[in-house]
Structure formats: C-alpha cells, structure tokens
C-alpha cells in the first residue's frame, strides 16, 4: 500500500477514513473496517483517491493503516480530540424521529414530554429540537402519539422502530393514548374520587408510607403502560417543575396550533 492510499478527512462531525479498493488481503481490510466503524468513524472505499474537499484532509502514513487498524484509530482519536469532537458512542443516539407523512401537528408530544425534546419551528410545525435531552430507552412520547408518527429507530418493537404501521398498530396505540381508559373511566372523576377518599382516609389515619406505596403503584402502572425505564421516572422533575413545564409546553403548543 502506498502512502497515498489511505487518508483521513474532517469534512463533518463524523471523521472519515478513505480507502482505495481493492486493498489486499481482503480479510484484514474487513477487520480494519469493523474496528474503525466500531470506534465511531466513517469509511469510504473508493477506486480513485478524491481531492481533498475541505482543505483539511490529513494523510496517515500507509504503514500504520496496513499493519494495525488500531494505530489508525489512535490517529483518528487524536484528530477528534484536536477538533473538540465527541468520542463515538459517548451518547447512544436515542431520540424521536417524526414521520411527517403521518404527523397531524397535534402537539401532544410537545405537551407530554417533560424534557424539552420537542419544539415548534418558525412555520409552526412540531419538531425535535433537543435530541440529547431525550431519555435513553424511553419511547413514552411515541405512545401518546395518536397517529403512530413518532419513531425511535433503536427501539426493539414495531412500529415504533420504524417498521410499517398497520391498522392494528393505529388501533392499539390509540387505545394506549386513552389515559382515561387506563385509569378506568372518567379521569377527572376518578381523580376527584381518589382525592376525596384520600382526604377521608388521611383524616382518620395519616399514613405517609401507605401514600408512598400508592404513588409507587401508580408509577409502576404508568411505567408498564408506556414502557418507560425506571431511570426516567427517577429523573422526573419535582411536581412544581412538572406543572410549570407542562404549562409552558401547553402554551407553546397552543401558540403553534393558532398559527397553523
């Protein structure tokens, strides 16, 4: 391999290695590809080496590339550090992706998410604006989307993982959205009822342990229904913060809907 057969480019947020093909032996080439990709760097396999497209292409000595892909990765790591880029895999890319062919811009996701993942664009469309705020493995907002328009590509199950949405999926997700059904009928009546019973009970016996257990039971039900990881529930803001956030989100959603 000559020294011109192996280049590193810093075109974008993901550093890229450029190989020429064929590079023999094929087995070691495959191993090198895997090592480089696993570390979070891109690879282009080309017949003819392209001209540097950003003026910042760096050449790695061929001996390093041919013999030891880890040496290439070390050079890439150094280059990444020099550029102040994040190491690959530092954050599992878990965030919602909106299918705008299904989305009706109802803003339920914006109102629902307590972590400010969603926002409204200048043209009043719902958008994902803070991907890294999203809680890893939590697909709860997709559960409240009545159109099954929110995907998490790294989720396990269909159709939230991006699989084709069937009529059964729409029906099932719509059932999950029905929070009142989840709580058994009229949600406000149920809450009033529960509040009255609680007042009555607490007036007779103030039992904080029992109250805590009930709250935990409610959270467990919610966690199971929406497939929310326990860490997410543990990270929830305080009740006052939730109220403030919900109100702010509601106002943003209303403002967005008014403009459309």
């Amino acid at each position: 391999m000559s020294s011109k057969e192996f280049w590193v480019s810093s075109v974008a947020a993901t550093l890229r290695v450029v190989f020429t093909t064929p590079v023999e032996p094929a087995a070691s080439r495959v191993d090198a590809l895997k090592v480089i990709l696993d570390k979070g760097y891109a690879v282009s396999v080309v017949r003819d080496m392209p001209a540097s497209d950003d003026g910042a292409t760096v050449m790695i000595p061929a001996a390093e590339a041919a013999g030891d892909p880890n040496a290439v990765v070390a050079a890439l790591d150094q280059m990444r550090d020099d550029k102040g880029l994040q190491p690959g895999g530092a954050w599992k890319p878990w965030f919602p992706v909106i299918d705008y062919q299904r989305c009706t811009n109802c803003m339920q996701c914006l109102s629902f998410c307590l972590f400010d993942v969603y926002g409204v664009s200048a043209d009043s469309k719902i958008k994902v604006q803070n991907q890294s705020n999203c809680k890893t493995e939590c697909p709860a907002c997709s559960r409240v989307c009545p159109e099954v328009a929110i995907m998490f590509p790294k989720y396990r199950h269909s159709p939230i993982n991006g699989d084709v949405v069937s009529e059964d999926d729409v029906r099932r997700e719509a059932m999950k959205v029905d929070i009142s059904a989840l709580l058994g009928g009229d949600v406000y009546a149920a809450l009033r009822d529960r509040s009255a019973k609680a007042k009555s009970r607490f007036s007779k016996e103030r039992d904080e342990d029992r109250a805590l257990k009930e709250r935990q039971t409610c959270l467990i039900k919610l966690q199971q229904a929406l497939d929310v990881p326990p860490e997410v529930l543990a990270a929830l803001p305080s009740i006052d913060e939730i109220r403030a956030k919900a109100e702010a989100a509601r106002q943003r959603a209303v403002a967005g809907l008014v403009k459309t």
């Binding site: 075109v11 974008a12 947020a13 993901t14 890229r16 093909t21 064929p22 094929a26 080439r29 495959v30 590809l33 895997k34 990709l37 696993d38 570390k39 979070g40 760097y41 891109a42 690879v43 282009s44 396999v45 080309v46 017949r47 690959g88 895999g89 954050w91 599992k92 890319p93 878990w94 965030f95 992706v97 909106i98 299918d99 705008y100 994902v128 991907q131 890294s132 995907m151 590509p153 790294k154 989720y155 396990r156 993982n161 991006g162 699989d163 084709v164 949405v165």
Partner: protein
Amino acid sequence: MPMARILYCHCAFARVVPEDTKNAVLEGLARAGVEFDAVPDLCQMAAAGDARLAQLAGSDGRPLHIAACYPRAVKWLFASAGVNVEAHGAVFHNMRVSPAADVLKGVLGE
C-alpha cells in the same frame, strides 16, 4: 445504466441490527471490490445534523442503495437533518429483518 452508490450503516451504538447480518454485509461489500460509504451510525449523524448526510445522499444522478434498518426510519432520519433522500432515488435495504445474502444481492444489483 450508471453504477449505483452504496451506503452502509454499521449501527455501532446499539444492538438492534443483528451482528451477524451487518458483519456479513460489510464483508460482502469489501470482498466485492466495489466503491461504498460506510458510516458508524446514521442516527448519530442525523442527531448531529452532520453535513455529510447531504453529500452521501448525493445528486450525481446515480441511484443510492442504503443498507441500514427500516426504510421509514431511514427516510425520516435523513429528513430530520434536512435531506430528502428519496429525491435522490434512494433504495432501502433493511438489515434488521432481511438476511445478509438478500441485502447484498439488492445492494450489489445481482
């Protein structure tokens, strides 16, 4: 007919694409001696708004074959970074559900 461009996603930061499938596809591409682009994780690039996604989608008239996961997810991942990948004639190959041999056959146009 112009030779297709090939984009392979390694889905490096999650275990949702079967390890055997993605490795077999990568190996098949490398052994075929074709030109291709391999990225560690399309999700991460989309989240970062990586400008290279637009370059990968391309506009040189050649069809683009993407070996990644569910087509709906891939299409809207690109869209989330402001790239209309279907406008560039993208063909999607789903490594989450298709065997590696089928993906390679589709990608390499065999």
